[in-house]
Point group: D2
Chain length 163, copies 4
Amino acid sequence: IDAVCTAHGLSVAEFHALRARATEAKTRAYCPYSNFRVGAALLARAGEGEGESGGRYVLGANVENASYPVTTCAERVALGTAVVEGLHSGNGRGFRAIAVSTDAEGPASPCGMCRQFIREFCELSMPILMFDKNDTFIVMTLGELLPLSFGPDNMGVKDPAKP
Amino acid sequence: IDAVCTAHGLSVAEFHALRARATEAKTRAYCPYSNFRVGAALLARAGEGEGESGGRYVLGANVENASYPVTTCAERVALGTAVVEGLHSGNGRGFRAIAVSTDAEGPASPCGMCRQFIREFCELSMPILMFDKNDTFIVMTLGELLPLSFGPDNMGVKDPAKP
Amino acid sequence: IDAVCTAHGLSVAEFHALRARATEAKTRAYCPYSNFRVGAALLARAGEGEGESGGRYVLGANVENASYPVTTCAERVALGTAVVEGLHSGNGRGFRAIAVSTDAEGPASPCGMCRQFIREFCELSMPILMFDKNDTFIVMTLGELLPLSFGPDNMGVKDPAKP
Amino acid sequence: IDAVCTAHGLSVAEFHALRARATEAKTRAYCPYSNFRVGAALLARAGEGEGESGGRYVLGANVENASYPVTTCAERVALGTAVVEGLHSGNGRGFRAIAVSTDAEGPASPCGMCRQFIREFCELSMPILMFDKNDTFIVMTLGELLPLSFGPDNMGVKDPAKP
Ligand SMILES: [Zn+2]
Ligand SMILES: [Zn+2]
Ligand SMILES: [Zn+2]
Ligand SMILES: [Zn+2]
């Protein structure tokens, strides 16, 4: 854990908070179709002048639908909530990490659709922490999980995650 | 407005709050691809024992993506946030109304995907308030906007919006 | 059936072909997650100069994904295939009807997302035929299933289904 | 090109056919919202006993919608069409390659949602060929574009792409 934190610019306390909150978020899942609970916790950077304690954790959980394609995932709920709160841009803001927790044996990774959604707002170096039911974890960066990504640049739009 | 409120069980103050908050939410939109801002405000019922002031407004805005199909709409962000907060079920909770506001001339309605997402958690009698840039509005119920809907019953799952 | 055909401009033979092909399409479903098979058959209008026999039936079935929101529905597969074949526009083309068939007891309707997808290319008067496992059916027009729809007009784009 | 073909088990003729068909498919795009045309060509393996000429090319193009999230991409249209035709499984079938072509300067990659959709049916070693408007190209495997993927195994379903 120490090595992971050092590599990705997190404190050990932040690592534990991400894990605890993603696990807590899992209890909010609405998943009567899959019975596969997923929780997410997103760590937003403190804005300038907000002080170290200005960081924010935003939670998400999967919200399923009778029409499966209308379902949304934990990661996208957390990030959508955060964007509406204005945590994605301006004043030095942005995101430092996202954690995902499931009930599976072995960490499950964000689906491709969520990797793409995260890509819009987060730097490629941002760590994604994946926890299984026993708190076994894997950490990979967004850039590792979505190499050669399709992004705002491809559509002629300024990348919100770049300075 | 009085007649609309009476028909749909809202107070005039709630109507105005829904309009004001949906309009405010519009400023949170991330829409560099369409430049079409949409704001939503969802009114959650107070839980039992919470008192009249227990109602809650949850905001949403559209969050677009370089890959258009990965975009999410204002209505779904608001409702996803609310479900993660546990406002959709238990203890007499649920939703009383949703308002949507755009910059268009003439009220724009929720897309079919959002109607389906709303369907999962709201009663067919719930009003959907649609405001244009001049506060001209139309109110229709979910059942009117999504007749003969596909829902949890079709998949053998208990409908969260039914007692 | 006679009355339905008259009301919606279909011959009885076309009605039977739509039913048979939607039912056949159901066998192509990939749905290991829901086990809910859906088949669709879309009837494309003959282009000018192609003669009466120029009409085409295009099939679709639901194609699910381990990530539920990445799933696509039968109706959207059929219509996507048809658009790529150029059957949606030009030369008098367009669509005359779509049929959907499931294994349920009682006809199931297209989800809101599919209604929206169909809306882009079809006239509001186009009939949607819904068959259950016993061939019990309901027919409604697109306009009836998606009232006050959000469409190309709202985004300043020419509606492909309008002359 | 020779080296690429050797590495990925394609003949030079197949490589050229994939490029030509993806480029041709681009002309079928319906994209009045983004004006970003994408074409895809999927090469399906010949079934057993069908002979070398039994391989099939299936085309796709992006099909947009006034509601951006209801849009579907070229890759998913091609693969959805192919699954409905039964080309994904049984009798030694499956997919050997997919090519994508755009009008951009520099090859554009499939979005995360499409990578996830492809993941359901294709082996991780399958090559994805990306061509820009000048036929400059990049080839990467599915496994390289979607590392540590979320798939059927995670949901307890047999992976259709594994023997
Ligand atoms: Zn996801
Ligand atoms: Zn919507
Ligand atoms: Zn559907
Ligand atoms: Zn895509």
